[in-house]
């Protein structure tokens, strides 16, 4: 690779992935069978997650980004279940396991969870038990997944607390979760998630509930650990600022499907899907020229039980083409550096 990169050569600003993907997701469908009907939370998603790379999943609430992530770990609650597709996980020894088909509660699945793939959530109290001291909870995880003595586990735990930036880690080891502030709890949860040196970290809105100064520190921390451990990261967020700051690759989701996918520069500088464009336009930006009104996306996300036919975004799209967008579903196809699911880019549009 040339050392001096041409500024126009966008894709080359991001190094190619090292080795095969950790996760290959193909045609994943996760549906919820409710009394009122079937909610298609994830409706045919293809994604690859590579080691030492951050993939950001961008989307608004209800787009299926969290359910997609939970499907990887197989922690989707009833009445939801994976109905189709595969999630191939490539272990350190090169073995592959289809997580979508692994039996619930199987040893295989339990070993991968926590040890190979760890997850952090928006609300740290989801993964921290309220009545056990922080240190003990981390030690338990370490003892479960790593072959070390109790004393060693304790040392590792304190080291981790220190690493995630918790002041006086030996003291905080003895603290209960409620004794810590939100930012500290988030750090403790990250320490726990990292205690087994996972190969893949799934972070679901890890900084949404935090203040910006704390958020900046947590994002830096995740980036540092990614570089250090060569960990793959899948970060789910609705915050475009966070995406721009940490992502190498971005997948934009709308109503359970990936509508656009590409490297971070292509997505931000040359967005192809009308939804991606609209989303980028609708956020106020620091230092941008003052505009009285924001270009908002009209309408709202349709009810999950009333999925529009054809392209699901057509009901809010300014470039809706009757007879096409409402009849056929657009496939995700490659255009330049990204992939997009939109007929504007797959068909010759008549010019008038």
């Amino acid at each position: 690779m040339p050392l001096i990169r041409m500024p126009t050569d966008l894709a080359h600003m991001i190094p190619a992935p090292e080795g095969p993907p950790l996760i290959e997701m193909r045609g994943l469908k996760t549906h919820f069978f409710t009394e009122d009907g079937v909610v298609k939370a994830v409706e045919g998603v293809d994604l690859d997650i590579y080691p030492n790379r951050t993939l950001c999943i961008l989307g608004e609430s209800g787009c299926g980004k969290s359910i997609m992530a939970r499907s990887i770990l197989r922690i989707v609650d009833a009445p939801g279940r994976i109905t189709a597709g595969s999630i191939l996980y490539r272990a350190a020894d090169g073995r592959t396991v289809d997580l979508a088909k692994a039996r619930h509660g199987s040893r295989e699945l339990r070993e991968i969870r926590g040890q190979d793939i760890a997850m952090i959530f928006q609300e740290p109290m989801v993964s921290l038990g309220p009545i056990q001291k922080i240190g003990r909870q981390i030690v338990e995880t370490i003892l479960l997944h790593r072959n070390v003595s109790k004393r060693e586990a304790r040392e590792i735990a304190i080291e981790l607390l220190d690493k995630v930036g918790i002041p006086k880690p030996a003291e905080r080891y003895e603290a209960y979760p409620f004794e810590l502030s939100g930012g500290m709890r988030q750090r403790a949860m990250i320490a726990m998630a990292l205690s087994c040196q996972p190969r893949l970290l799934i972070a679901d809105e890890p900084t949404t509930a935090l203040d910006v100064t704390t958020q900046a520190q947590i994002l830096d921390l995740i980036a540092e650990l990614k570089d250090e451990l060569g960990m793959g990261v899948m970060l789910i967020t609705h915050d475009l600022g966070v995406v721009a700051e940490v992502a190498e690759e971005v997948a934009v989701m709308y109503m359970g499907q990936v509508v656009e996918r590409g490297d971070v520069y292509s997505i931000f500088e040359n967005p192809l899907h009308p939804y991606t464009r609209a989303l980028l336009n609708s956020v106020p930006r620091l230092g941008a020229p003052k505009q009285r009104r924001l270009p908002a996306i009209r309408g709202m996300v349709p009810h999950p039980l009333a999925r529009p036919s054809g392209c699901t975004f057509r009901t809010r799209c300014d470039q809706f083409m009757p007879g096409l967008c409402d009849v056929r579903e657009p496939d995700l196809v490659r255009r330049n550096e990204s992939e997009v699911a939109c007929f504007l880019h797959t068909r010759e549009v008549p010019h008038d």
């Binding site: 900046a216 475009l240 721009a244 700051e245 931000f268 941008a288 924001l294 908002a296 996306i297």
Partner: protein
């Protein structure tokens, strides 16, 4: 000419801490600590700060849903005698609450789930103007239209609405009594990006249509920059900097303002930068004397930890810092 609608002087709100059940309070938290500012009629006055900075408490003290521990709040309505809110009694407050209304963050919990839209939005009209029946239905319908909801929704319950629509209901309810001042506390924070943009546009349209003054409390700095004319930055109960939006963002003077602005992620991958790690996380230790930001401040000197900072006015900005102007 400046025409203040609110003049706040030396406002305090202290909460006792410690003690517990039947115990004696052992200390106080100064959630709002000696705050003074004016809100000009017709402007959008922003209050930003991180969690625990006291911005919500400040808003509630202005509304008088919380009793201030000290200070004055003068509320001047169009063509009426100014009223002193901090000392106002229940009866005059009930009357004031027609002209000063609040929009809350969580559209889920701030709307009574057992009330139909007509009662939810119209409740205050029944109470204050004695509206009922057809008159009430008409007024509420036109309010719904005003916030972009269909008038047919009159008989629905809040759970039939999405988050964005519920926030519109909250706005309709606030506007029902034709207020002059609206205090919006994190009014768009819980909304998705696309809905947030719609709601901000709606608030702006309504402001022009109805000559509203907004006090806009939020933690999202980009939203505040977009929406507000002047901004007060709060840190631990104090306003550390107050300036017009342009001035604040062009030349932030307080070290905390700088740290805050520097921490906001910018939605442009080319702007990726090594953030300055100047603000270590506070570990709860308080500077009891001197500047409250000193323990986290990269510019702190011995003076900062021994003497409370003075309020300085530099090039139109009000800054609470010993070293403002020379850092």
């Amino acid at each position: 000419m400046t025409d203040p609608i609110l003049e706040i002087r030396g406002l305090n709100k202290h909460f006792p801490t410690g003690g517990g059940f039947f115990g004696k309070a052992t200390g106080v938290v100064k959630a709002v600590d000696d705050i003074s500012f004016d809100v000009i009629r017709g402007e959008t006055f922003g209050i930003v700060g991180e969690s625990g900075s006291g911005k919500t408490t400040l808003g509630r003290c202005i509304m008088r849903v919380l009793e201030p521990s000290g200070g004055t709040i003068r509320f001047s309505r169009n063509g009426r005698e100014p009223i002193e809110l901090a000392a106002a009694d229940k009866a005059s407050l009930t009357e004031v609450w027609r002209d000063m209304r609040m929009v809350f963050q969580d559209p889920q919990s701030s709307l009574n789930p057992r009330l139909r839209v007509i009662d939810l939005v119209g409740q205050c009209l029944t109470k204050t103007e004695g509206l009922a029946g057809k008159d009430l239905a008409e007024r509420v319908s036109s309010l719904l239209e005003q916030v972009g909801l269909r008038p047919e929704y009159l008989m629905r319950y809040p759970n039939a609405f999405s988050g964005g629509q519920r926030q519109r209901l909250g706005i309709a309810r606030a506007l029902a009594t034709r207020p002059e001042l609206v205090i919006a506390d994190e009014a768009v924070s819980a909304l998705d990006v696309s809905i947030q943009a719609q709601t901000l546009n709606l608030l702006r349209d309504l402001q022009e249509e109805l000559d509203l003054t907004y006090v806009f409390i939020a933690h999202d700095i980009a939203v505040v920059e977009h929406f507000c004319d002047r901004i007060a930055v709060m840190y631990m109960g104090q306003i550390v900097e107050l300036a017009t939006t342009e001035t604040l963002f062009e030349t932030p003077r307080h070290p905390y303002t700088r740290a805050l602005l520097g921490a906001v992620p910018i939605p442009d991958p080319r702007a990726r930068r090594k953030r300055r790690k100047t603000v270590p996380i506070g570990d709860g230790s308080l500077a009891r004397i001197g500047c409250r930001f000193a323990p986290r401040c990269p510019h702190a000197t011995a003076l900062c930890t021994t003497k409370p900072p003075p309020r300085k006015t530099i090039a139109g900005a009000d800054v609470l810092c010993h070293h403002a102007g020379d850092i």
